[in-house]
Amino acid sequence: MKVRVQATMAEVPDASMAEPVKRFRLHDQLDIYRQNPNPKPGHSSKGGISMKSRGKWFAGAALGAFGCLLLAAPAARAQNSTSSPALEQAAANPDNWAIPALNYGSTRYSTLNQITTDNASQIEPAWTFSTGVLRGHEGQPLVIGNVMYLVTPFPNTVFALDLSNDGRIMWQYTPTQNPDVIPVMCCDTVNRGVAYGDGKIVLHQADNTVVALDAQTGKVDWSTPLASYKDGATGTGAPLVIGNKVFVGVSGGEFGVQGFLAALDMSDGHILWKAYSEGPDSQILFDPQTTMSLGKPVGADSSLKTWKGDEWKIGGGDTWGWLSYDPKLNLLYYGSGNPSTWNPNQRPGDNKWSMTIFARDPDTGMAKWVYQMTPHDQWDYDGVNEMILADLTINGQQVPALVHFDRNGLAYVLNRATGALLAVNKYDPAVNWTTGVDMNPSSPNYGRPTVVAQYAPGSHGVNVNYTGICPAALGSKDEQPASYDPQTGLFYVPTNHVCMDYEPYPVAYTAGQPYVGATLSMYPGPGGYMGRFIAFDPVTGKTAWQIDDQFSDWGGALTTAGGVVFYGTLKGYFRAVDAKTGKILYSFKTPSGIIGNVMTYMHDGKQYVAVLSGVGGWAGIGLAAGLTDPHAGLGAVGGYAALKDYTTLGGQLTVFALPGS
């Protein structure tokens, strides 16, 4: 079945705000606490509160705000931080949203089921919160117990909000960062969320400093600078906490930053290891014999051999996307981004290991397997999108799969234990730079995409305008995460349906300066629209249904056991959709365009669904004035309305729930 639903302005429902429910029961404790946030005795040198004082303090607060932490955090301390049961315990409770992608498998599927296909049409805004920051709001809040944690774009203010008290601000933390970091962020000053573990909230600041805050006080526990923004390295991604470690990547592919993933010790923030995307085996943490690619050992110098001279040192492959983890296999998964520069003629070779899926041992950083999706990138198809870990049935067999919707427009299914390639399908029929991936294991081109020269900007040298390439550099999907619903077995994917002309030319490298090297012209894909929200089967390549949108769908999806999938649009509509049919059950226009990811939590026995609004990011580029199609007739040029006719800047959280207390 294929239902095409063209969304229109007419979808705006009557938005009667629910009367705010006042709850005062925590006021006394909180006021006492705010006056004396570090009660003595027992304030530890690490910024935490001693068990003793915690006990006393929590005796009063256990009713509400920190109930969950009371149970969880001291347990972690008692084990001397060697593991993080606090996070595991918090993540195991379906009422919480304790990991940026909800779970280690990044499915963004919640078992909460109060909101169903039968009642989703009745949900309404329950409460809202302004972040006070104007620029693009990607990412999602966390909820642990009675506290919601969220981070804004630069200046990266972190808020802890009391869910028992209409989102009253329990603490906030605003780092001091040099504003010179702002223009080094290629695509707006976004931040995709904080992580939780060991009683701490971990923030990856724009200036590439990783900071751990005491989850109860917001006090800085430790702070570790990773790489200098003066060289173009910035922080935008959500960290991931596993055991006593936290993992963070780096942004800077448009500044020639040699990408890496770093593991930091949760107890004091010291760097345990850094694994680069390109360079000698000692830097990329590869073992020539045991690191595998498509079933074979990668061999020595697998990266160096694919670059001209020292180009790898400014070769990009940045790791600004999402992280996943399989506890059973003890493997950490993530992707690397585009090789620098955007002019492919300047960097001959496969440019390994840019555009690659990595499976690493989180304890040592050593790579178990790798797979390069787009060798010698010619389009800026970063490979950093989320790795969704799902157990799928393929040819009658249950497979531990990794599913990845890449910028290049292909949906990859791999065996996440071995890195074996199981299925590759286009998830937008407009994709034309490749005819597909060679799936024959005995072929010399096994696993490589077959590139269509007409749409490959490296094929005929520089100063040639390659036209009609689909998808555009934004990718068929960018960082906006998809969600996997085990009930339907389908993946729900917000996509960009945008094409481009691409004209490469030579560029010079200067540290800390943009290092791009191509002129791009982007325009709506076939059909004249730019967004498709799809229900997709990556094994068969079939699209069950799709909802078309005028602008890119740049908000992350949430699936729920209630059979409802949620996402937001660039115009600012928050939508609840029937996962089976694609029918829009509820729609509400939030104050600004949505590039954030929908999340859900349960509080006091009631399910809430929340999303950040705040247009910006790469999605905001070009949309201020609209995109034009240079290949449509004269009359059509400029005919695409601009996003600014629908929405404007402003960060806000909107939380929805069913009516009634």
């Binding site: 620029r135 504003p179 030319y505 995109l627 034009t628 040029v637 800047l649």
Partner: protein, 175 residues
Amino acid sequence: MKGYSRIALATIALAVAGATATFAAGPGDPKPVKETGGMWFDKDGAPTYNIAKDGTVDWGTFVGYLRYNSICLDCHGPDGSGSSYAPDLTQALQQLSYSQFIADVAGGIKSVNTAQDLVMPSFATNKNVMCFISEIYSYLRARSTGALGRGRPAKNAPDPKGFDEASYKCLGIPM
């Protein structure tokens, strides 16, 4: 190459950027009066565009289109038309003389306050910008007066002899 030195231009641009702009506001009359190496200049010696009646865009302005829509696009959006966090240059250029333009590009601009965090970096050390600063100005000037529409110019004057060599030399990369 008719004595047209790309490196010299970049050097001049940097020198001008170092001085406080004291020229009158606004770009003045865009009428092209002199051509050097594919780049046109107005009566005051500022880079300008020269678009033929059949729509053929001069080489310098065309190169400006190419260079703008790579580096500058990341913030100022396609065709200079602005983004959610950087101004519309087709408007801004109506108020900027060439010397002011160079001062802003080379020196950067900061507007950081309680309402906004807008920062344009200094591009003084970026050869991809400074080697083509006159071309980028000429392109944006054409956009700001409405002489040039959005998108890639449909037709452009040919690549003048020696342009590639001069470009590579200025960029400091092998051909």
